[in-house]
Subunit: 377 residues, 2 copies
């Protein structure tokens, strides 16, 4: 017998309603029936994005929407500013390079948030910067950036602000309009409680001007075509039908709970996880800027971090994430994002306590759970 | 957002494979395809029953199979001995009364197991007793009876032994043949990890002789017809097709784990639950004969037991069972049966700790979990 618990920063567990929706007989997408669904999810997306901007749906994973941001906004030879404090910040740079875009990098120490003042300085120093690319939650380090402050800086310039909110949207606060985010990209398999396969991209009027001017080669991810289609409640290419239908179910859950309550639930889960780690004598990797969607924890000296993650998964069915890139084996990450609640966190901590004990780490058994229970009371 | 955790003694949680099987397109039952499935589940039933006897499948809940035992074995005016130590022992008596059968009752104090010596005495004192009806696990009290010893007593008499193993089969040991159980009835929604709707009944050659002789009126539950059909790998009436198909999936899980490992898992879950209750200062209702499928716990004096169960369920989605009959409000019952494992128990205990705290019960938060974790290490 094997039960699986997914405490990873994407994919996240799927609600039964979502599973059920995906097993309904498929319908055709060029029908009034599907058009009504598309309209419904477009409204749902505006709700979670907290925006009046158009939000496009792409049949791609999150990186597709990241690439769409770059190619639709910028042309070869243009200059971009990238906030790079982890693996996903680096991805912005890689995509820019692939399209011949000049990149100014703000190299942020992994585990720290970017100082918005640095963004301001860079923009002042180089008026060629057309777009600022940043990350809401840097999944690789558990850091959350202060998008509101970055937005204040960027909105008074010619540049547009592009936020990778793939990990975070629908789980922690991101006010697309109020924080002046010109483009926000996201994915289906995180806070939105769907399988991977859909990405989303909101576009402000300021960003649309750049989109019209961009000369980058693009076809599948061309947002001009996406805009034309959306204006007719349609998609330019075959949409991922079942995922979009399932999204209506996810939005029902989200609207019933309300964004504020969802953010609160994630905050509590993060607080409980952090309290538990502290009680277990484990250090948080990003203590000054911990996100509420994933907690990165330092592997204690002398312990094999990869083995820890592998044992939890293979022996007990509890999947957490290890470290990526230069953090491989040095941290593990417990996600608390999407269709996850109190008792999933309790399960994750209990399994962690079990495997830590088996690996010879010294602590008081049950102390992590106790600390978490105190937060959840 | 709402997650549900079922720690009740039936229904029990359903494995994903079982859910998936039930959503396959339905097939017809008078087909070679279904016949192969029927053959497969018949073999699976013999495995979990640990028997060479025929095991019949009825489209009914467990009580249907209990009634089938009574009406197929006995006629009005016959005498039965009933071991009655809880709500489900009483059910044997009620069914016997409904068919005009004279009942000798062994009234066992609720929370205690029957002393097999009493069964021996009763049988010696009254040679008219044709059948002994008992319960493997008395779900209402959390008691497990010593069927092996009762079997030794009954097998040397003219009487047959009938065991209600509805709660227990496939979760704790019951050796139908080795323990000389002439009839064992069970249901789908407990250790066998299916929804309710199927019952099972094994019949020994000794029992078949009585079945041929019984004059009780019966039609749907007539085991003579069931036998004729089973000999042709068929059922006398329309079977519950999807449930039987799902049973093939449950048996795959059971065979992969192996009965011994399954019994061990249930023992560990029960040990952990009992250790947790002790750490929380709560008394086990049946300390001398605790079953490994459900733990009945005394509600502390001054606490509202019904409110406790209701709050856990309605506020936090964790469903445990309250007391039944005269135990209403006085005990609660945590089941650990079927598709349940370590972290489900941890979840149940954590939720219990939370609600106990909210209700003002004094104990050290986390101590129940700690005790359970020690067992699971």
């Amino acid at each position: 017998m094997h039960k699986n618990y997914l405490l990873t920063p994407g994919p996240t567990p799927l609600p039964p309603q979502v599973l059920e929706a995906m097993s309904r007989p498929i319908i055709h997408h060029r029908t009034p029936q599907f058009q009504a669904i598309l309209k419904e999810v477009s409204e749902g997306l505006k709700y979670v994005y907290q925006t009046k901007n158009d939000v496009f749906i792409l049949a791609s994973s999150g990186t597709g929407a990241m690439e769409a941001s770059v190619t639709n906004l910028l042309s070869a030879g243009d200059t971009a500013l990238v906030v790079q404090g982890g693996k996903f910040g680096e991805r912005w740079t890689e995509i820019c390079y692939a399209y011949g875009i000049t990149v100014e990098v703000i190299d942020v120490e992994w585990g720290k948030a970017v100082n918005p003042f640095l963004v301001e300085q860079k923009l002042k120093a180089n008026s060629k910067i057309k777009a600022v690319f940043t990350t809401l939650c840097e999944t690789s380090t558990g850091v959350v950036n202060d998008i509101a402050s970055i937005g204040k800086v960027v909105k008074n310039t010619e540049a547009v602000l592009v936020v990778d909110a793939i990990s975070g949207l629908g789980a922690i606060d991101l006010k697309t309009d109020a924080w002046s985010c010109d483009i926000v990209v996201s994915g289906s398999q995180k806070g939105l409680m769907l399988p991977p396969g859909l990405s989303f991209i909101s576009v402000s009027p300021k960003a649309f001007k750049l989109i019209e001017a961009s000369k980058s080669p693009r076809y599948y991810l061309d947002l001009r075509e996406a805009k034309k289609a959306l204006d007719k409640t349609d998609t330019p290419f075959t949409p991922a039908i079942t995922l979009i239908i399932a999204l209506t179910e996810a939005f029902k859950i989200i609207k019933q709970d309300g964004l504020e309550n969802i953010f609160l639930r994630h905050r509590k889960m993060a607080d409980a996880t952090r309290a538990a780690m502290k009680a277990l004598g484990l250090a948080i990797f990003a203590p000054t800027a911990s996100s509420d969607v994933v907690t990165a924890v330092c592997v204690p000296v002398g312990l094999d971090g990869e083995k820890l993650v592998k044992t939890m998964r293979d022996s007990y069915g509890v999947t957490i994430a290890g470290g990526q890139g230069k953090l491989k084996g040095k941290i593990f990450r417990i996600a608390h994002m999407g269709f996850i609640e109190e008792f999933d966190i309790i399960t994750g901590i209990s399994c962690l306590e079990k495997v830590l004990t088996q690996m010879g780490y010294k602590f008081q058994l049950g102390s992590g759970i106790k600390a978490a229970e105190e937060v959840f009371l």
